[in-house]
C-alpha cells in the first residue's frame, strides 16, 4: 500500500526504484549492484577504526536515497532503526568507560571521559551508517526484484526461492503467532505475570506455531511440485531489471574497497 510520501505502510514491501521514464542515462543501478553496495557500505562502516568512513557511508546512503526520491522515508526508517540502540550504546560508553583517563565531567556516580566520548561517537556513527544503508536498500529494492535479477543472471530458482518466499511469508507468520498467542491468552495464558509465568507462556505459543508452519510447508510443497518446481533447467523471467554499462566494474571496485579497508590497517596503514 503506497502512502502519500512515496513510502509504504509498515510490514509492506517497498515500491521498486525503477527510475524516471527515459533512456539508459536515467536508469538506476541493478538490484545486484545495490546489494553489493549495501553489503560493502555495511562492512566498511563496521570495520573502519575512525569516524570518517562511517560518516562517509552515511552520507552516500542518504545521497542514494535522495537520488531515488526516497530520502524522507529512508531518513525516517534509519532514525527509527538507529535511535534505540544508538542512544543506549552512546549513553553506556559515554557514562561508563572505566578505562578512560581524561575526565571531562562527573555526573553523579558516572565519570565522563574524553576516551569514552570518542568511543561513544564512533559507535554512534557506525550504527547510524549501518541503519541508513539497510534502510536505503530495503526502501528501494523489494525482494522480488532482487530475486528476478539474480534469476536472470543464472542463479537456480531453488536457490532464490527461500529469499522471495521468506519476505512473502513474514506477515502470515506474524499473524499466526499473534492468533495463537491471543487464543492461548483466552484460555488463561499469563503474559503479564512474573518472569517464570511468562517463560511458561513460551511453549504454548511456539509449539502450535511450529506445527502450523509444517502444515503450511506440506501444502506449499504439493503446490510447487505439481508445477514442476524441481524440474532442472533455466526459467523465463518475466520482469528482469536491466543493467547499465559499467556496473560490473563498480561492483568489482566496491569489493576491492572492502578488502582494502580490511587489509590496510593490518599492513600498518592508518585509515581515518
Amino acid at each position: 500500500m503506497a502512502l502519500t510520501d512515496g513510502t509504504t505502510a509498515p510490514g509492506q514491501p517497498p515500491r521498486p526504484w525503477t527510475g524516471p521514464a527515459g533512456g539508459p542515462r536515467s536508469r538506476p543501478p541493478s538490484p545486484l549492484t545495490r546489494l553489493v553496495a549495501a553489503l560493502a557500505g555495511t562492512s566498511i562502516a563496521i570495520v573502519a577504526g575512525g569516524l570518517a568512513l562511517p560518516l562517509l557511508v552515511l552520507a552516500v546512503a542518504l545521497a542514494a536515497a535522495a537520488a531515488a526520491g526516497r530520502l524522507r522515508g529512508v531518513a525516517r526508517d534509519a532514525l527509527l532503526l538507529a535511535l534505540p540502540i544508538g542512544v543506549a550504546s552512546a549513553a553506556l560508553n559515554l557514562l561508563i568507560h572505566p578505562e578512560g583517563v581524561t575526565t571531562l565531567a562527573v555526573v553523579g556516580p558516572f565519570r565522563v571521559t574524553a576516551e569514552g566520548a570518542r568511543f561513544a561517537a564512533l559507535t554512534l556513527a557506525r550504527i547510524a551508517a549501518v541503519a541508513a544503508v539497510v534502510a536505503a536498500f530495503a526502501r528501494t529494492t523489494p525482494p522480488d526484484l532482487l530475486v528476478a535479477d539474480l534469476t536472470r543472471r543464472g542463479l537456480p530458482p531453488r536457490a532464490t526461492f527461500p529469499v522471495a518466499a521468506a519476505a512473502a511469508a513474514l506477515p502470515a507468520a506474524a499473524a499466526r503467532v499473534r492468533a495463537i498467542a491471543d487464543a492461548q491468552r483466552m484460555r488463561g495464558l499469563d503474559t503479564e505475570g512474573s518472569v517464570r509465568r511468562r517463560l511458561r507462556g513460551v511453549v504454548p505459543v511456539i509449539i502450535p506455531a511450529l506445527l502450523g508452519t509444517l502444515e503450511e510447508a506440506e501444502s506449499r510443497t504439493l503446490a510447487l511440485e505439481s508445477r514442476a518446481f524441481a524440474r532442472p533447467g533455466p526459467r523465463t523471467v518475466l520482469r528482469a531489471p536491466a543493467e547499465a554499462r559499467g556496473e560490473r566494474a563498480l561492483r568489482v571496485a566496491l569489493v576491492a574497497l572492502v578488502i582494502a579497508v580490511v587489509l590496510l590497517p593490518a599492513a600498518g596503514v592508518r585509515i581515518p
Binding site: L81, I85, F119, I127, A165, V202, L214
Partner: protein, 369 residues
C-alpha cells in the same frame, strides 16, 4: 559396518580435524594467543579472532567434507539431499518464524531471551546441518536487508556467521542422534546419563566468569571484591543450580534421557554462539544490542569489568539459556509430531525412537515409506 558408513565416518573425522586445525591456525596467525593481562581473567585482545577463526573453520570443514564425498562417490549427495523441495519450502517459513519470534514474542513476553533461532534449529534438526546453516545465514541477512519495518533490524546481519554455526551445530547434533527420543528410560540407563549431564552442567558453570567472580578472590578476577560483580556472580550460580534441579525434575517426570542430551547440546551451542557474538557486540556496537540484557553489561562495566569481558559474561549467560530453551522447545515440538511426518524430512530417521522403527511384524518403517 558397511562401506557407505565407513566412508561417512572418514568424512566426519576429516571435517572435525580440519575445523580444529583451522581454528588453531587462525588464532596462532593473529599472534594474540598468550596469557591474559595480569589484572584480568580474559584475553580481550584475542577475542576478535575467535569469530573469524570459527567461521573460517566451519566453512573449511564443510568444503573438505564435500570434496571427500565427491572423491569417494562422484557426487555430493549428503549435502544435496538436505535441500529437498520440502526443505526449501520449510526454510522461508522458518526464516519468517525466526524473525517474528525474535521481534514479537521476546518483546511481548518481555523475557531475557532472544528466541530468534527456533526456526533455524528446527530446519537443522529435520533436514541436516547444511540446511540449518543456510537458514541461519538467510535469516540474519534478510532481517537487515530485505524485511521492511517494523521487522527490520540494522544489527542482525553482523551475526550471520553466528547463526550459520548454530545451524551447523544443531544439525550435527541431530545427525549424532541427540534429538532421538529415548522414552521410558530407567535404572542405570537413566541415572548415569542424568548424573553425567548434570555433572557436565556443573563443570560448565564452574568455568563461567560469573561463578569465577563470585567464588574467587585471586588475580584472575577483575573486581571480585566489587559488590555488583558479586551479586551477579551469585545470580549466575543460582541460575546454574536451578537449571540442574529443573533438568533433574524434568528427567524424573518424563523419564526421557534425551532431554538431558538436548539441553546439554543447547548449552554447548550457546557457549560457541556467545564466544562468536560477544566480540562483535563489544567492538562494533559498543556492548549494546537493544535488549534487556544491556543493563547487565552496564552493571558489569560500572563494576570495573572491561567491555569485552562484560559482554562475554552477559552473553555466556543469555546465549546458553536461550539456546538450551530453543533446543528444548524444538525437541518438544518434534515430540508432538507423528513419526510419519518426521520421516518425510531428510533426517527424519534420526528423530524416530528405536521402539517405533519396527512394526510388530519386524518390517522397517523405511520399507513402506
Amino acid at each position: 559396518m558397511d562401506r557407505s558408513a565407513r566412508q561417512g565416518r572418514t568424512r566426519v573425522i576429516a571435517a572435525i580435524a580440519v575445523f580444529l586445525v583451522v581454528v588453531a591456525g587462525v588464532i596462532a596467525a593473529t599472534a594474540v594467543v598468550g596469557p591474559p593481562a595480569a589484572d584480568s581473567w580474559y584475553n580481550a585482545a584475542a577475542a576478535g579472532a575467535w569469530p573469524v577463526a570459527i567461521t573460517l573453520a566451519a566453512i573449511a570443514a564443510t568444503l573438505v567434507y564435500a570434496l571427500i564425498e565427491k572423491a569417494q562417490t562422484g557426487a555430493v549427495a549428503s549435502l544435496a539431499r538436505q535441500l529437498t523441495t520440502r526443505t526449501l519450502v520449510l526454510i522461508p517459513l522458518a526464516i519468517a518464524f525466526n524473525v517474528v519470534l525474535g521481534a514479537t514474542i521476546g518483546q511481548s513476553l518481555r523475557i531475557p531471551l532472544y528466541l530468534d533461532m527456533v526456526g533455524t534449529v528446527f530446519v537443522a534438526v529435520l533436514a541436516g546441518p547444511f540446511a540449518g546453516a543456510v537458514t541461519g545465514i538467510l535469516t540474519l541477512l534478510s532481517w537487515s536487508y530485505l524485511f521492511p519495518p517494523p521487522f527490520q533490524s540494522p544489527t542482525a546481519a553482523a551475526f550471520s556467521a553466528t547463526a550459520m554455526v548454530v545451524g551447523l551445530l544443531a544439525g550435527s547434533f541431530s545427525v549424532a542422534g541427540v534429538f532421538r527420543p529415548r522414552p521410558r528410560s530407567s535404572g542405570i540407563g537413566l541415572a548415569v546419563p542424568a548424573l553425567l549431564s548434570i555433572g557436565l552442567l556443573g563443570l560448565m558453570a564452574l568455568g563461567s566468569p560469573f561463578v569465577t567472580w563470585a567464588t574467587s578472590g585471586d588475580s584472575i578476577a577483575p573486581a571480585s571484591d566489587d559488590r555488583i560483580l558479586l551479586v551477579f556472580g551469585w545470580i549466575g550460580l543460582l541460575l546454574v543450580v536451578a537449571a540442574g534441579v529443573g533438568l533433574l525434575g524434568f528427567l524424573i517426570l518424563r523419564r526421557d534421557v534425551s532431554v538431558a542430551y538436548v539441553v546439554l547440546a543447547g548449552i554447548a551451542t550457546g557457549i560457541v554462539a556467545a564466544v562468536m557474538s560477544a566480540p562483535i557486540v563489544a567492538t562494533v556496537f559498543g556492548g549494546v544490542t537493544g535488549g534487556g540484557t544491556d543493563l547487565v553489561v552496564a552493571a558489569l562495566r560500572q563494576g570495573g569489568a572491561g567491555l569485552q569481558e562484560a559482554v562475554l559474561g552477559q552473553s555466556l549467560v543469555s546465549d546458553t539459556v536461550d539456546k538450551a530453551v530453543t533446543f528444548l522447545v524444538v525437541y518438544l515440538a518434534l515430540a508432538a509430531m507423528s513419526a510419519r511426518m518426521k520421516a518425510r524430512f531428510p533426517r527424519g530417521d534420526d528423530l524416530i525412537e528405536d521402539s517405533a522403527r519396527l512394526d510388530p511384524a519386524g518390517v522397517s518403517l523405511g520399507a513402506w515409506r
